[in-house]
Every structure is written in structure tokens, then in C-alpha cells.
């Protein structure tokens, strides 16, 4: 059982991010970390490989400046190797451009039975890459998985819905997006962290993937970010002084919100 996990390395959410006013995109020049929403896919993949009794987890990622910090975290958790696509030509890629790159990179992984992704990244939130990857690879796509089980050449997925979950089955290989929070990602052990330093990370360019620079980055983007604006500051809340009737005002307030 070989599982590919698409992971994104993002600026640390603990440090407030900044938008570049010229490109109108998130600045990504500092150290990048593993997107937490991808850690669930990595954990799920490791559990599936263990349950299958063999195989390995391969990471696929796209990042500027050959950044590998986030990949090393996932390798320390137990992934065997990684493919990183890093190329100046990728700057400005939209979701579809990203999907093209990831799909090409996934095709290089031999014997991939299952491709896992997060449902969306924690910095861009387009939430469309997994389905685009599946479309480009001509593979079935299942979204919002809360539980995944592999039975021979079939994958059985509990697909989260607003009301509960659907049981979905499809043949392998397939692309499945994993809902954040459905498994507990393991902490990398000290030995895992040490071992991750020597695990192979294959760094590729756009040309290595057989793609033309005009298909990706700003050149290939079908979307344009027209303008960016500061988020409105939070307005001050209402302070109710208790003159003996405060409870009535609170009840009326809650009633107005239709939470009672």
C-alpha cells in the first residue's frame, strides 16, 4: 500500500502573515512550516500503511526557495520520501496551476495506490486543488473523508456531511481529501526527527516535470487578484450595566440572535 500525500508548507500562522501589495499575494519568503490541515492526511496515510502491513508514504509539495522545513516535519512523523517542486516560474500560480504541478509530480511516484490531500490549505483556502488534481489524473475524487479503509482495490470512505456522513466506495487509485481534526497527528519522535534529516527529498523544476513555464505561475494563471483590502477592525461589543433588568436585555439580545 503506497500512499501519496499532497502537503503545503505555509508561513507560521503564529506570526501574523503579510500580503505583498505589488503581487497581492501572501509573502512566503521566510521559514515555512507544515500546514496543520495537512498533518491529518499524513497521519491517516501512516495509519493506512501500517494497517496494510507494508508500503510507504510519499510526500508531494510545491514551495518557493527549495523550502523543506515543513516536509522534514512530515518525514519525521514517518513518511519515507518527498518530491518538492520549486521553481521561480511557479510564483503567482493559481489553484489550477498548482494542481497541474502536483498532478505531474504524483505521476512520478511509482505504484501510488491512494492520494490524500487536505480539504483546503490554511493560508489560501481555495479548497479546489484536490478535485483539480483528480481531474487532471483522471482518477475518482472523494472529499471530506472522516474515516478511510482500504479493502483490496477499493477504498471505503466515510464522507462527512452537515447531517452526519455518507458511506462512499470507489476503486483505487483515487484522490481523497481528509477533513481536519479527524485523526490525532502524532508528534515526531526524536529518532524520527534525526532520521528525517537523511530521507530523500527529490527537488524538481517545472521543466523536470515536462511542463512549460507558460502553463504555471503568473503566466498560466486563469485568475487575477484585482484588489486586496484590510479586514475591518472588530467593533466594540455592547456593555450592559446591571440596573436590575440586565437579564431582560441579555435575553432579548440572545432572542434576537435566535439562539434561544
Amino acid at each position: 500500500m503506497n500512499v501519496v500525500v499532497c502537503v503545503k508548507q505555509i508561513p507560521d500562522p503564529a506570526d501574523p502573515g503579510a500580503l505583498d501589495p505589488t503581487t497581492k499575494t501572501l509573502k512566503r519568503d521566510g521559514k515555512l512550516i507544515l500546514d496543520e490541515s495537512d498533518s491529518y492526511g499524513v497521519e491517516m496515510a501512516l495509519q493506512l500503511v501500517t494497517a496494510a502491513g507494508g508500503g510507504e508514504v510519499t510526500l508531494v509539495s510545491m514551495a518557493p526557495n527549495g523550502e523543506v522545513s515543513g516536509l522534514r516535519t512530515a518525514l519525521a512523523m514517518g513518511a519515507a520520501k518527498a518530491i518538492l517542486v520549486s521553481d521561480d516560474a511557479l510564483a503567482g500560480s493559481d489553484a489550477l496551476g498548482t494542481a497541474k504541478v502536483l498532478a505531474k509530480a504524483i505521476e512520478r511516484v511509482e505504484g501510488a495506490d491512494l492520494i490524500l490531500t487536505a480539504t483546503e490549505s490554511s493560508d489560501g483556502y481555495t479548497g479546489t486543488v484536490p478535485e483539480q488534481v483528480a481531474g487532471l489524473l483522471d482518477l475518482p475524487s472523494v472529499t471530506f473523508a472522516k474515516h478511510i479503509e482500504v479493502d483490496g482495490s477499493t477504498v471505503k470512505v466515510q464522507r462527512q456531511t452537515e447531517a452526519g456522513y455518507d458511506d462512499v466506495e470507489c476503486p483505487l487509485p483515487a484522490v481523497v481529501s481528509v477533513t481536519a481534526g479527524v485523526v490525532e497527528p502524532r508528534y515526531p519522535s526524536f529518532k524520527g526527527i534525526m532520521a528525517a534529516k537523511s530521507k530523500p527529498v527529490d527537488t524538481l523544476t517545472v521543466a523536470d516535470l515536462g511542463l512549460d513555464a507558460s502553463q504555471v505561475g503568473w503566466a498560466g494563471a486563469g485568475q487575477e487578484i484585482v484588489s486586496i483590502e484590510e479586514a475591518p477592525a472588530r467593533e466594540a461589543g455592547e456593555v450592559i450595566e446591571d440596573d436590575g433588568t440586565a437579564f431582560e436585555k441579555i435575553v432579548a439580545y440572545l432572542d434576537n440572535l435566535k439562539v434561544l
Partner: protein, 383 residues
């Protein structure tokens, strides 16, 4: 002298910080409140490799340096002192005697599970009538056919009574009572469930409430020859060697407490408004914080230097005693000052600073009282 951390040590610190903040800090206070040893957390630390800190990889550990261990302790102890106390007792006195003095068979049988984090280690030295005067222990091990018969009683023993404990390595008299010779001592492994080995309930301390500390009784406990660890007559010297590392460990634990109370007091002082301004604007408070920070730094470099001496194979007995003496004094004083900065809020047991205050006193007592540290230092001066 270069005391900067290596890449592996930095990786370890990052791992410990992450686990301490996300898992220990939110979960350990409840265990303290309920006076229960949180072995769930210790097991998870074992999975990360942290329980095999000072043991080479060959025996299931991660072969960390002493400096790396001190730096890791600074992270673990800031989150919770009881977990850190259980952890360090396991890493030092619980594991090191088996590593340093055990045979390969003993290492495989008892050390590997400790280093791999599957069991918790304990060492039994102190007795009701023998604490600082370790030579005065009365627990006896008598030679019998193919083994030893142990009788006696130990007290204040950490880590022996949890659901993760494997038993205890203890020090017992093996000769010298009335045979004309000097007193002689040996170390023995007594596994949980050995007939005659019983223990009392978890003892209640001022602090370290999450640490499992008990009295242990040995009534005609028979163990075979292969349970003797090291020399049958030189056991005391063996253990005192291990204790030198334990002193660096308690110094590190003290540093972590001081850092924790400094952080708490500083944050509180910046937030607490009296007389129209945050109390951090008053020099009476500022000077307390500045003093704590300065004393912490002094204690920190004594401790790291002792650790560095051990790592570079140099004598470190005096420096370890100095580090333990200084760091534990600073911790107990700083905890009191930090409570003072908090005022009434800090006096209430619901506040984290109160918990650290309760945990601080034992640092001046455990792993050799500070009076004994003075003796060790004075002897090194030639007194």
C-alpha cells in the same frame, strides 16, 4: 568554552517545547489537583524517545548529551514540575545505575524497557532513619543459596508505585554488621509483584502532587543472583556516582521553575492595574522581576557548565553540587517573590504560580539536601 546547542540539541528542545506546551501544560494541572501521577503523559514522552534521554541508542535510548538534557528540562519543567520530577528521576537515578553498572543481560531485561519508555524506573535509597546519612541505611541483603534475602524499609521513593512502574533498584547493606569489616552495600533489582515486596499509599507532599512517592517494605524478599547490579560491596559508591548527575538534573528542574514563575509574574505585572497603571510600572515590582531574571541567569550558567564538564569527561562533582545549591535556592526564593507580585491571586491554589510555589520547596531537599551540597563543596575546598 562554547555552550551553544548543537543541531540535535536544538531539535530536542523544539520537540520538548512543543510537547510541553501542547500536552503537558493543559493536562498536568488536573493530575496535580487530583494528586495522581499522569502516566499517560509519561508514556507519550516515552514514545517520543524522551525516557531514554541519557541512555545510548544501543540500549533503546537516544544518547543525548547532559547539556541537551538540561535544555530539554527547561522546557518540560516550565509546563509542570511533577511530570518533570518523575521524568528526571526515571532518566537519572532510575535508569543510570542499570546502564553504568549492570551486565548486558540486565540492561536488556530492565534498562531497555525503561529507555524505550515502556516502563518507569525508580531507585530506593532513603529510609526513615537514613537520609543525608546514606551509610546508615538498615535494609539488609543476606547471601543465600543462589540469591539474596532482602529485609528493610525505604521511604520517599518516587516512581515505584505507578501503573507504569517495573519495580525498584534499591541499595541494601551486604556486610559490616558485626563481621568486623567496614559496612558494605549492594544494589538489587526488585520487580513489582515479588513476594514480600509491598508498598504504602501515595504520600502527600506540599508540592509535586503529580509525583508518585511511597514507602516500600521488603519482608524476606528473595531475589536470585542475577538481580544484583554491579559490585556486591561497592554499591554505595556506585549510587553516589549516579547521584552527581541527579544534582545537575535537580538544578535544571529548578531553572525551569524559576523561568516559569518569572514568566507568570512578568505577564501578571503587565496586566494588573493598580493606582491607575500596570504594576509593572512600579519599581518595587520591576526590581523583583529584574532580580529574579539575574539570579536565574547566574544559576543557569552554573548548571550548563556542570553539564558541559560531564559531557567533556571532566570532574564535575563540585560544580554539580554548586549548581544544585544555587539553582534550588533561586527557585524557592523566586517562587515566593513571584507569588508576592501576584498578591492575593497568587496565594490561591487555583493560580499556576501557587502550584509552582508549592513545588519549589522540595528542590532544596531532594537529591541531597542543600546542607549536603554545602558539605560536598566544602570538602572540595579541602575542609
Amino acid at each position: 568554552m562554547d555552550l551553544s546547542l548543537t543541531e540535535a540539541e536544538r531539535d530536542l528542545v523544539e520537540l520538548c517545547r512543543d510537547f510541553a506546551q501542547k500536552e503537558i501544560a493543559p493536562r498536568a494541572p488536573l493530575a496535580w489537583e487530583e494528586a495522581r501521577c499522569p502516566t499517560d503523559l509519561l508514556r507519550e514522552m516515552g514514545e517520543l524517545g524522551l525516557l531514554g534521554m541519557l541512555i545510548p541508542e544501543e540500549w533503546g535510548g537516544i544518547g543525548m548529551t547532559t547539556v541537551g538534557f538540561v535544555a530539554a528540562m527547561e522546557q518540560i519543567g516550565r509546563a509542570d514540575q511533577s511530570v518533570a520530577a518523575a521524568w528526571q528521576a526515571h532518566v537519572t537515578i532510575g535508569s543510570l545505575p542499570l546502564y553504568l553498572f549492570g551486565t548486558d543481560d540486565q540492561r536488556e531485561r530492565w534498562l531497555r524497557p525503561l529507555a524505550e519508555g515502556r516502563a518507569l524506573g525508580a531507585f530506593g535509597l532513603t529510609e526513615p532513619d537514613a537520609g543525608s546519612d546514606a551509610r546508615g541505611i538498615r535494609t539488609r541483603a543476606e547471601r543465600t543459596d543462589g540469591g539474596w534475602l532482602i529485609n528493610g524499609r525505604k521511604t520517599f521513593i518516587s516512581n515505584a508505585g505507578t501503573d507504569m512502574s517495573f519495580g525498584v533498584t534499591l541499595l541494601a547493606r551486604t556486610g559490616g554488621d558485626g563481621d568486623g569489616g567496614p559496612p558494605r552495600y549492594g544494589s538489587f533489582v526488585v520487580e513489582k509483584g515479588t513476594p514480600g515486596f509491598t508498598m504504602g499509599p501515595k504520600m502527600r507532599g506540599i508540592g509535586w502532587r503529580g509525583l508518585d512517592t511511597r514507602e516500600l517494605w521488603f519482608d524476606d524478599v528473595w531475589v536470585p543472583d542475577d538481580h544484583l547490579v554491579g559490585d556486591p560491596e561497592m554499591g554505595l559508591g556506585q549510587f553516589l556516582r549516579t547521584l552527581e548527575m541527579g544534582r545537575i538534573s535537580i538544578a535544571a528542574l529548578s531553572l525551569s521553575l524559576t523561568q516559569a514563575v518569572l514568566d507568570l509574574a512578568t505577564a501578571y505585572a503587565k496586566d494588573r492595574v493598580q493606582f491607575g497603571q500596570p504594576i509593572s510600572q512600579f519599581q518595587a515590582v520591576q526590581f523583583k522581576l529584574a532580580d529574579i531574571a539575574t539570579e536565574l541567569e547566574a544559576a543557569r550558567w552554573l548548571t550548563y557548565r556542570a553539564a558541559w564538564l560531564r559531557d567533556t569527561g571532566q570532574p564535575f562533582q563540585k560544580e554539580a553540587a554548586m549548581a544544585k545549591l544555587k539553582a534550588s535556592r533561586v527557585a524557592a526564593w523566586a517562587a515566593s517573590e513571584a507569588v508576592q507580585v501576584h498578591g492575593g491571586v497568587g496565594y490561591m491554589l487555583d493560580s499556576p504560580v501557587a502550584r509552582f510555589y508549592c513545588d519549589s520547596k522540595v528542590l532544596e531537599i531532594g537529591e541531597g539536601t542543600n546542607e549536603i551540597q554545602h558539605l560536598v563543596i566544602a570538602r572540595a575546598l579541602g575542609c
